[in-house]
Homo-oligomer: 439 residues x 4
Amino acid sequence: MTRGHRGIMVFVALVAIAAAGGRHAAAQSPSVAGDWQFAQDIHGNTLYRRLSIIINESTVSGTIGSESISGTVTGNKIHFTTRSEQASNEFDATLTNDVLSGSVVRTGRDDPKPDRYTWTARRLPAPRSGPAVRHEFVPKTFHRVFSASVEPVLRIWPGDSVHTTTVDAGGTDEKDVVRVLGGNPQTGPFFVETAMPGDVLAVTLNRLRLNRDWAISDDALMARAMDSGLAVKMKDVGKSVRWKLDRDRGVASPDVTGGKLQSFTIPLRPMLGCIALAPGFAQAPMPTGDSGPFGGNMDFNEIVEGTTVFLPVAQPGALLFVGDGHAAQGDGELNGNALETSMEVEFTVNLVRSKPLASPRVESPTHLMTIGLGGTLEDAMRRATSGMTQWLEQDYSLSPSEIAMVLGSSVEYTIGEVADRNVGVGAKLRKERLAPLKR
Amino acid sequence: MTRGHRGIMVFVALVAIAAAGGRHAAAQSPSVAGDWQFAQDIHGNTLYRRLSIIINESTVSGTIGSESISGTVTGNKIHFTTRSEQASNEFDATLTNDVLSGSVVRTGRDDPKPDRYTWTARRLPAPRSGPAVRHEFVPKTFHRVFSASVEPVLRIWPGDSVHTTTVDAGGTDEKDVVRVLGGNPQTGPFFVETAMPGDVLAVTLNRLRLNRDWAISDDALMARAMDSGLAVKMKDVGKSVRWKLDRDRGVASPDVTGGKLQSFTIPLRPMLGCIALAPGFAQAPMPTGDSGPFGGNMDFNEIVEGTTVFLPVAQPGALLFVGDGHAAQGDGELNGNALETSMEVEFTVNLVRSKPLASPRVESPTHLMTIGLGGTLEDAMRRATSGMTQWLEQDYSLSPSEIAMVLGSSVEYTIGEVADRNVGVGAKLRKERLAPLKR
Amino acid sequence: MTRGHRGIMVFVALVAIAAAGGRHAAAQSPSVAGDWQFAQDIHGNTLYRRLSIIINESTVSGTIGSESISGTVTGNKIHFTTRSEQASNEFDATLTNDVLSGSVVRTGRDDPKPDRYTWTARRLPAPRSGPAVRHEFVPKTFHRVFSASVEPVLRIWPGDSVHTTTVDAGGTDEKDVVRVLGGNPQTGPFFVETAMPGDVLAVTLNRLRLNRDWAISDDALMARAMDSGLAVKMKDVGKSVRWKLDRDRGVASPDVTGGKLQSFTIPLRPMLGCIALAPGFAQAPMPTGDSGPFGGNMDFNEIVEGTTVFLPVAQPGALLFVGDGHAAQGDGELNGNALETSMEVEFTVNLVRSKPLASPRVESPTHLMTIGLGGTLEDAMRRATSGMTQWLEQDYSLSPSEIAMVLGSSVEYTIGEVADRNVGVGAKLRKERLAPLKR
Amino acid sequence: MTRGHRGIMVFVALVAIAAAGGRHAAAQSPSVAGDWQFAQDIHGNTLYRRLSIIINESTVSGTIGSESISGTVTGNKIHFTTRSEQASNEFDATLTNDVLSGSVVRTGRDDPKPDRYTWTARRLPAPRSGPAVRHEFVPKTFHRVFSASVEPVLRIWPGDSVHTTTVDAGGTDEKDVVRVLGGNPQTGPFFVETAMPGDVLAVTLNRLRLNRDWAISDDALMARAMDSGLAVKMKDVGKSVRWKLDRDRGVASPDVTGGKLQSFTIPLRPMLGCIALAPGFAQAPMPTGDSGPFGGNMDFNEIVEGTTVFLPVAQPGALLFVGDGHAAQGDGELNGNALETSMEVEFTVNLVRSKPLASPRVESPTHLMTIGLGGTLEDAMRRATSGMTQWLEQDYSLSPSEIAMVLGSSVEYTIGEVADRNVGVGAKLRKERLAPLKR
């Protein structure tokens, strides 16, 4: 849907540049130059970073993660250093069988005693030369945590698409079969080749369609949305409610008899409640009802067909999860459940190398959107605002003063959800207003 | 604009019924029956309520405020009682020169000692028989508090319209003359005949137009919208910014030289930052930067031409204030100032008798909206939700379960403002979704 | 009680220095030099500041408010200037009959058009030469707003004491006579000679004693303290509860029959719920249920006999209000009412000239305390923390790093109240920990 | 330390009763009667509950979790039912080799289609007959998640004590050896025999002592504690700070040279930042920086030697974790780190069968305390208040009205921490005030 619109073109271009850079470096020094998946052992945990080595004669330059390196190479031995205000790190390694292995000594500014760690690095694959692939994927297992410890179900390349399905939040599939315990079980994770921590994964939802004729919801209101008086008024509600999904007419209606909602219908607007990458270094598995900078159970009703979701990569391969489809959802997901249903999903992944991303982003044909997630609406709003500020700085080079003027005159806020541990606020800017600002 | 749409018709009908009721009652017993402006002295403060007396032979029934009365009338003496779980009140009075004067004794449930107060009541005017009037009003003074102690500038009737102007938030008028100290100085208050505490005033904004070619704003961001990192980033901004208003093209642009915003424009969308009634019994004057259930400085960017704002009447005559026009405003009013400008305003008032209203309401051609105001976004959201719940109960007779389903599937939230002591959240429902629900 | 403790000595010293400075300046140039009550008219509102003029030959230096002035004097004409990053101001005046009157032209950095205002200045009285006075004051009227528009009931000097009484929050005095409508009616305001905006008033509570044998409270819980489940559980409570105050034994007990609280007693700990100065320039009267940087209805149960409360002066004479005595109060004032009672009060005022104060402060024999007030506990906590930071900077010259270490290791927080529009958080530091830090 | 005080006696008594009941039941019908560890498979996850069966002839009564059962037994086959407003459950099983195995069919009120699950049950051990044991435990591994999937390190009985050590939050032990990656690594988990979901574990900290002479902290302030101005002021701090711990003098002092804190000392007050039980059914492992109703990283500085912590059991064996010792901590843990150090710990566990517990509780010699944990201070305060309400209902049988009066007059609040995802508020009541209330 958004294929060909400007945001995606930028990624494709960036990926192409990255790819060219990789090839160029490789040409100069086949032995050590190029991109590596660097893995440092820290008390039994593995810290991954992309190590990009450029060799000019015996001089080493390049980057590790977001830091610059400088050093020397002699035969199969390499030495390089990073320096920051906090600490300096000395890396030494030997290349054997195309694997670098060695150690790093970190000397902190305020720390009297240096720390020593071991590391290895394996070559990241060269960019794929062939055309993008559309994968048909039938899920067999579903996962209840976002975690790097879950084995990937499929390895794909930037540019590839995956056509698959998701079960509903309760674990039931399109054939009304319970496949797994509820709590937003996920399809995936999908391993994206060459993705490394510090990159951004762009996931374009080409297709997001209903694949059954009913959804499940309830008639409760989240405590967070109720003042004391409303809590007393609502004290006796809270039962499950089934909704009928009429895919032909494009509407949903509650499957109730009697009462005032006999002819109440709402338009279908299928969305993904969950889209996430595996969280980063040494983080505990995150339950699929939770969310964070890596995405997760954001329940943001703008994540619909035709949008692209941008998430920060924190693990090699990114490890993309999708699930928790909603046939439609009001702002806030006030019932705790939206119209929970199984879903047919097709998405395309693209990779932006080395770009800081404070909050999840969504781009629709009309809007730039950032999602702020936090324990309170104020925190969530601040993060959404901060995330949009970062976007305007990165892509439009606006000054703080200019950012304030654009946001003050043009930002739109919506309350994404108040149903989970994190609440979510969306900050939105119309792309047509930003178009005249020279990038 | 919304003239003739359904909401307004309801009020007109209600007012007509009320009028008929009043006349009918008057016919039966010209001496005491009818509607009165009841005024009770409570330690030097006056508590006003509407007293509606119905006489059947020597028996008294009717209402005082929202309570039922029952009693007897003998010659020019009346006695009646109200009873609630909390207290009983015994009222006695004598009619002299068409004024009731007497006393009331209140016996509280938990209070050993009854309290005695004096009261008087003056007849409320009979509904006007003639056609609605359009008043041309040129303001000479402007007020910096919402208060019943400010002398009304004009007395109007339900159904009447007023065409007037407002100065900008800084006190400057359409001719660039500073008329008053800044802080949202108001035009008004307008006294609406027969309006009494417990009623609802419906203010339809027929016309809301710019009357000058510039607005003033700034390039700060409200502390409430910034996390620590953003606060540090924004630490040096905060200057005034002038915007050009192009009324022909319908756009505004910042009047800056250099930088990235040379060709940045936003659509004009004139709105009223303030619309308020005087607060109620014994309340201190409220500064015009503040807000509450009575309205006030809500800075809600949906209060535009063509909408009707509903506010609870807390003082005889309602005492309507308008001011703080914005040429346009992003959600949240993040700069603290929107595009502040003077404005041409025309509004029509209508009265709904005796209707509880927990939060300000706005009706547009497409949406029902409630505004929640509170010290935090959570509180504001709860109040907006509670207010919408009340609307769905009152006008659609929905049960708690049905309300939960309608809100969960269909509510839209927006963050009105975070610039003032109270923040505001708007809850919105599309009228087309509610249309099939039988009223 | 705290007489003679260190904090007070500092003020006395500061006042003495200020007094000496004043006299010294006066000796050099009797005509214009010295301290003035400067009053600038801004669109009908009066902005007061202290103008301190030092004359050296024909050269003018000194301060107006917190800004430096420089200029010249020629005969009875004076000209001086202030400059900041935001604006420059040119002041001109003529001395006639010991009154300065003239104008000021303000040119803002971003403002094309200068503004012109008129001003006058009257000489502030010289410090009193005689001994401090103890005033016996019997209140006749009580006030329901904190406001500079309320006429002072007594003029006192720094160093003076006042012995008086307060009615309870409901307006009832020690003889069970209702004196005024409830809502925390106040005794005062007391005008403190020479106090000017920018100063700090130190109010030491020498005596705070019960003067009747009962208090009134209730059995509700504030909505803010209840989650949904608790709100449902508490839905039927909310009646008035009388407490017996046993002044001999020093305890209070609920006056209930039956139930589990027959022998429940709590220690008496009389406190002032309200202590306030009049709010500043062009501010609306503030209801006595509200609070802000000027103090007000803080309901902080550490404001007991023997403490000193520091408040920022915002009006000439400071205009001190006291009221809302509580025989005892739990943290948070969860019932909305504490043990509300009338009170005998004696306090001493002292003045600290020209000291910024972000939040109200309380000093007890053992603790420094700041009170943060805001719409949410987070905001209140931030303000209390910020206020304590300011105190540590001002009086202990600590660096940001040192402040962080002192607070992180030693701060104590308490929740003062959640019963009013502003909630309050107290930040406390033990004075014994700070004693070794060289001032 | 608190041995012999009243709370503990109650548990001992309760445990004794439970034990007696168990034995009695066992005597009647050795085959099926008694307490079982019931384990139901729900889509690959195991739900554990205590199943207590009482046999009277062929009639079955008793409980499963908090629900009553009724049914029949025939030979080695048992059938029983639970009924609630939400659903009914029919259980069938066969006893083979002292293991029950069978199925359960759940029919939900609103659910057209019953669900069927399998289950097994193993006999819970009979109460231990011998004396309590003091275990000496030297930890070899440390864990960075609270989870039922971590293998227990030791099996103990109610009444037993464990003497052990904890590493500091950064993973360093008493000999300055880094043992594990930082992030509050835990000692444990300890399996408590017979503990089952629905019980409460009481952990008395008999001994909590420093075992090295230094702690690590920093000089940052948590963003949550700073308003915008303070954030700007603090923008350049954030380095590690070492503290010296003087165990003889009982004080700590920052190990800094220069500046104002040369002679700044604070009293040592060793506390446990983390104490937790494994979270319940199908929950993801919880990182050791997080907290919840099960306890966790609460950073509550009242959890010191001599207190008893009560936590709700959610897994068979309770699975107790301890760690994150602080030599001392200010309220709020404003630096993010307190004075982090390794610790010597001795605790005793006791079990209260079948008692609902909404929030963690702490009992000291002087106070009852509940800890509320949530995303915002308001939520945390509400939960602490709600938790205290539950305590007063359960142990003092107070009515809602009485609870309101006790809390309003006597509750004390403290802000435990604002350093983690959940913030914590402590609600406290003095035991001496509650003593006269008949239990």
